[in-house]
Amino acid sequence: MNVVVCVKQIPDPAQPGQLDPGSKTLKREGKLILDDSDAYGVEMALLLAEKAGGGEVTLVSMAPNGETSGLRTALAMGAAKAILVSDDSLAGTDALGTAKVLAAAIKRAEPDLIVAATESTDGYTGTLPVQVAEILGLPSVTFAKSVDVADGKVKVNRQTEAGYDEVECPLPALITVTAGVVEPRYPSFKGIMAARSKPVEQLTVADLGLSADQVGAAGARQEVVDVTAAEERKAGEVITDEGDAHERVVAFLDQLKLI
């Protein structure tokens, strides 16, 4: 079974982010890392491919400047290869444009299953995976808590407001996985060494047969008009527990008539 995992390489969330002063979009030009949310998708894909007894896990990503550091992390976990779409004309692409690019790249890998996170840690748009499925004409099951593949079908327990739904879907299909569904493996030293020589195919917008007006800032039909500081909440009283701090908490709750 061939599995494609959509992975996003993002600026390190632990570092302060920066906006491009012109377009007011997130600067993504420095070193990028594998989005934590995607590590679960990579692990899930590896487990499913192993269980199916064959097939490859291919990563698909779009990033500026031919950035591959995040991809190498996922390759070190065990993915076989990667497709990276990197093109100057992609700067400022909106989520729908990104979905068009990724869908075109994913098609080349002819996957049985596409795995993505529910949303990225830097953009949080959360519509991209389903847009990719729609462009490819595939069914999708989002917010998977558990996933199993058997008899040409993917069986998913899907998170709902009230609990979960059991959903069954014929392959090929796309799924999104929530964090915590599996425990992402740490790349071994051997994995890290092997990742260095794994193939990363670099593609441009033209390679994918897309026209320039579908992507980039030119293709985006939304703009950021302003960025301002959010209203800040002020700190209240901070006390140090000397064994009786719980009394203060009780008094606070009591005053709100919650006890």
């Binding site: 529910t118 729609e134 069986k155 998170q159 901070v238 919650l258 006890i259």
Partner: protein
Amino acid sequence: MATDKIWVLIDTTEGKPSSGGLELLTAARQFGSVVEAVVWGESSEAAAGPAGAHGAARLLVLGDLGGGLAGPAVSSALAARISGGEGPDVILAPSSYECRDIIGRLSVKIDRPVLANIVGLAKEGDGLVTEHGIFGGTQIAKARFTGEGPGLFIVRPKTFAAEESGGGPAEVAQLSAGEAGATAGAKLIARHVEEREGPSLDEAPVVVSGGRGLGAAENYAMIEELAKLLNGAAGASRAIVDAGWVPYSHQVGQTGKTVKPTVYIACGISGATQHMVGMKGAKNIIAINKDAEAPIFSIADLGVVGDVHKVLPKLIDAIKAKK
């Protein structure tokens, strides 16, 4: 982009509309003159009463989905209505599991982009301007669509307060099913409702949340016990959800739920920006954390620098004693 005619997508449970949907109906009344609610699934027609009371003139219904998922079915029906010339200027949807599927698919079908994760929405000029929390909610980015409509907006719950308009039941109109083809391949086999004691996270007056400072998964029981004692709901930071200690449904924060309870009690949570985005709208915040430098203290009304393993058991006992 005009805002005259607005569709509001509303999830329903046994005919009862979600609060996120009613909040958006309330907002839609201010932006446009024709507000139509869109619902789907068995017995969703029952939403005509509450939807009308919150400002919907009409309820567009796609009934029983025959075991299919909402995403492909509802998006195809809406795309068909739009291509039939009955489309709106604006489509508003709460960030729910199903609405995200519907809007994502619809955006491709009608080739319109989506503005998602919206925390504020206002009419400026002849269009809508959205607000999005960025960099952990420390800054607000305002955005708008530049192309032709309809604009697709996914709004975080609790962005608006639901208020009744005094209107009668909405007029019910059936949506015709569209062509979903292979995209409709996923089928619902069974629904599982997890028994929940007490209120849900987004409706609870008290939310008690635990984070990595709890040290081990089994200590989350203290969070659940305290939440139960206070008739509240138990939440969690992303860190312990990622670690597999508690299910994703408990997660409070950017990638989880937004809560605005009367009081939020953060236990062993340092206050990553990702978490604070989801809870800083609480009326009161109490934080217990052993690290005096933890960012959570910068927004807490009462901060306790202490070990949750010591403070929580005493707090639980003291509340039990008072009851």
